[in-house]
Symmetry: C2
Subunit: 404 residues, 2 copies
């Protein structure tokens, strides 16, 4: 049995008109003789409205009741989709987490899907039915409603694809796919046809707008091909697949960039175990997200310099924490606003020598100064002055021929 999982995000089912359009997409797939499983998010805005209500009730709203509350949003969307398919003459019904059941483990508001019971759904599929599954929700061993944390309905779709050994999971959303870089920042950005899970994960700053990293990781671990495409425009999207499925010989797949960061350098930090932790623990507790971290080897074996980046708006809070925390030991601290991180990503760089050099040379030719460098297997990131960010993006996009 060939199974395709279709997942629709909140904006795709945001209005009655959009739900009608989504139903047409489902019918198109159904006519291709595939078995279709649909997973839907709540209509956009609904979940936020419910969360707002919970905050008005209590600034410390019960986690288990939060799950009952917000899971109602997906219930509404699914019944409307199934009702529309019925109206069009198709056998369809909504399936809530507890009806399947989708068993989860872990705490309320942040559970993980452990098992998807297949029996009832398989019977329904064999009868020619189109199940519309409420995303984001499940049920735990105590028969309480749960919601799955980060990734939400995307994770539901991927776990269902895994348990049903689906051919493909198509994520319908409000963007056309994954681009070589943010199209809002660079008009020449091109939609990527095929990308590996690993590249997608490294392009988090682009990818997060399309899918949560945790869902990409779930797909990677379970080897599920994902297609991300628009529910509004009829065009092929981006296929996210395993590395070995990438046949083209491109070196770089995409460029991600941040445009307003701040850099913090601690000079003369004692070079001994536990020092890094003593710096990042108070930041983490205060919800300050640390991005790049670079520490060079200690020249004298006693002291080293440590640089990290944060969002520009977190700079004042970070200054206060570092200056007031006596446990952090250093000689001098330097703060700099107005820096940008530019990263080139591509599995091709593993087998292609000289990528680093080409990147640095291209930037040097444009007189763009590199402040900090950090690399992974398939990503090279540099920290540059914010005013050079746009120029760097254009330069690298051209250098690695991404517009083609």
């Amino acid at each position: 049995m060939k199974i395709v999982v279709l997942k629709f995000g909140g904006t795709s089912v945001g209005t009655i008109e959009k739900i009608k359009r989504v139903t047409d997409i489902i019918i198109e797939h159904k006519k291709k003789k595939n078995k279709i499983i649909v997973v839907s998010s709540a209509m956009s805005g609904v979940t936020n409205d419910l969360i707002k209500k919970s905050k008005q009730i209590s600034n410390n709203f019960s986690d288990s009741e939060y799950d009952v509350l917000v899971s109602s949003g997906e219930q509404v969307a699914c019944s409307l989709i199934a009702g529309r398919l019925n109206h069009k003459g198709f056998k369809s019904r909504s399936w809530l987490g507890w009806q399947i059941p989708i068993f989860t483990k872990g705490p309320h508001t942040n559970s993980r899907i452990q098992k998807v019971n297949k029996n009832k759904l398989l019977r329904f599929l064999k009868e020619g039915g189109i199940p519309i599954i409420a995303g984001f929700q499940g049920v735990n061993m105590s028969e309480r409603v749960t919601t799955i944390g980060r990734g939400g309905s995307d994770s539901s779709a991927i776990m269902i694809a895994k348990f049903f050994k689906a051919q493909r999971c198509i994520i319908y959303t409000d963007v056309e796919g994954v681009f070589t870089t943010d199209p809002n920042k660079l008009k020449k950005a091109k939609k990527i046809k095929v990308i590996s899970y690993e590249e997608m994960l490294e392009m988090a700053s682009l990818g997060a707008k399309v899918m949560q990293p945790v869902s990409i990781q779930d797909a990677r671990l379970n080897r599920i091909d994902i297609e991300v495409k628009s529910s509004f425009i009829k065009k092929p999207g981006t296929l996210i697949t395993k590395r070995t499925n990438l046949y083209n010989n491109r070196i770089i797949t995409g460029i991600s960039s941040t445009h307003n960061d701040a850099k913090v350098t601690l000079v003369g930090v004692k070079d001994r175990p536990g020092v890094a932790a003593s710096i990042f623990k108070p930041l983490s507790i205060n919800f300050i997200n640390v991005d790049m971290v670079v520490q060079n080897i200690s020249a004298n074996g006693k002291e080293t310099d440590l640089t990290f980046t944060i969002k520009a708006e977190d700079l004042n809070k970070t200054k206060k924490i570092i200056q007031e925390n006596k446990r952090i030991n250093f000689k001098k601290v330097l703060f700099q606003k107005g820096v940008s991180k530019i990263s080139i990503i591509g599995v091709g760089m593993i087998t292609t020598p000289g990528v680093t050099f080409r990147m640095f040379q291209a930037l040097a030719n444009k007189k763009i100064n590199i402040q900090v460098i950090s690399t992974s297997e398939i990503k090279i990131s540099v920290l540059i002055n914010k005013k050079d960010a746009k120029k760097a993006l254009i330069t690298l996009h051209k250098e690695f021929k991404l517009q083609k």
Copy 2:
């Protein structure tokens, strides 16, 4: 274990502020050392909004999906109430129909509660918990979500009171209780302290605003005392109970009135079996609600006159049906707009002779002409000219000392 069921209607939980107030009421009851079971409707407006969505999706929206859709409203209200109780330090949780379970039979959108499983709820009550049950919903033998038709959450509350052998079921709503007559029509109307199920049923036109007749009937059959009271004003409400609990010696409990009806008289109808059915069937099919029906004995044994009342706005439709339907056999038809029905209701009239006479004399004294009379064991209804309705109401309210 002394159990009290508290039911809150849509207006009582219509906003976050009102939900907070409702929680205070629950806590007051809890402090009286009773075991409390709460049943809640959806926040007012929510159900209508969901129904509107279903109609936009299809003019023939699937019944089973309708139940999934609209039952989400009660889910939201219950989680917010439970969350608020948790915030106030009380052990509480929401219970959805399928979690208890509340088993229903009958068709979707109009199921009836068959069984309420007590085990889990009893355990929760024994642990000191306050269960907040989603009204209006249940689950059928196929594990599909169902909703119960007429009566809605009131019926849920009464059936739960029945299965748990509750001492009392308190219906919190937006009115203070049941009045001797509509307070909007007569300022002197008084709140009734105690009323029998039968009187409440006969006062349908008043009672329907407070509770659906089907719920009153359920309470009557299961001998459950109901108290109807306001969730906004701290005052005793109206107790609806069995006839033998009424100790006072009043004759009449209340007066109901309709203010804009039309009267239809068929003159010279053949006096043979099936005639009445042939008249009312086409009206019923066309959703015309027939209220009073009076047929006198046939003087010559062959023909009779038949009078019935309908809502004034249905008159034109009714005229058309009667005049075009060849199966209805009569000599002449008379239509009259602008009539009102005034009914006096009271179990006391069974044991008190002369009530009919007193009613007719009081109206005659005010020169109010009675057109049609119809009586039941505990109700006397008369049809009068619409312009006399207000005067009749004042006269009868005074005659039977209801203002005291």
